[in-house]
Amino acid sequence: MIPYLLCFILFLVGLYGVITRRNLVKIAISLSIMEFSIFLFFALIGFVEGGVAPIVDPADPVKTYVDPLPQAMVLTAIVIGLATTAMIMSVIIRIYRKYGTFDIREIKNLRG
């Protein structure tokens, strides 16, 4: 039960960062932390009691393996998270050039 609770606490930390921080870069990093918490949760789901890592050893074939499907899903999701973070970082750099500041309270050109 404790590992699942820790994943939830990590998600809350990320959510707190997205909502209350003023610096754009901190918002982007908090979004990234939120995504990492769900990767940990995925890896915890596939646990089987008494299982070993899902790599087939030709000398000792019959064993109980941990579920490998959530691990494959997490690999794909990590790459997607990397692409999202890279995209948002390049937008932040362009915003700094146009507006001159990283503070989100100054960036309110669009209203209504």
């Binding site: 890592a53 790599i55 087939v56 050893d57 030709p58 990590i78 890279a86 750099i93």
Partner: protein, 145 residues
Amino acid sequence: MKGMTLIVKKTTQLIAGLIFLYGIYVIIHGHLTPGGGFAGGVLIAGSFILLILANGSDFMKLTKEETGSTIYENLAILVAIFLAVSGMLFGAKIFFLNWLPKGTPGELVSAGMLPLYNIFIGIEVAASILSIFLALVIFKEEMSE
């Protein structure tokens, strides 16, 4: 940006080659040990980025590097798509089929098409992460002029 001190430059010249070799090892053994295309590609990109950071970006001519890495990225992914579609031309005519002979598990040359996919995805990931890094560095150069 300026380069770093002499100690850093000499150390990275020694280490960058080892990191590159380790990345190739992770890619090629993707069907035997954890890793595969993504992780190995990031390692290879890491070795290039280390060299650029240590030597400074005014020393290396970076815009030519960027066109080069973009072309490698697109070519690698086109070859990967062609490999996937080649399942529809040979074998049992299904998309993404593993139609090469599979060999014995545990050997380096086995598991059909998987090592080929790993190699080309590894090249693609390395080239694209290098392109991202170069785009940000070149933009910073233009911004501070």
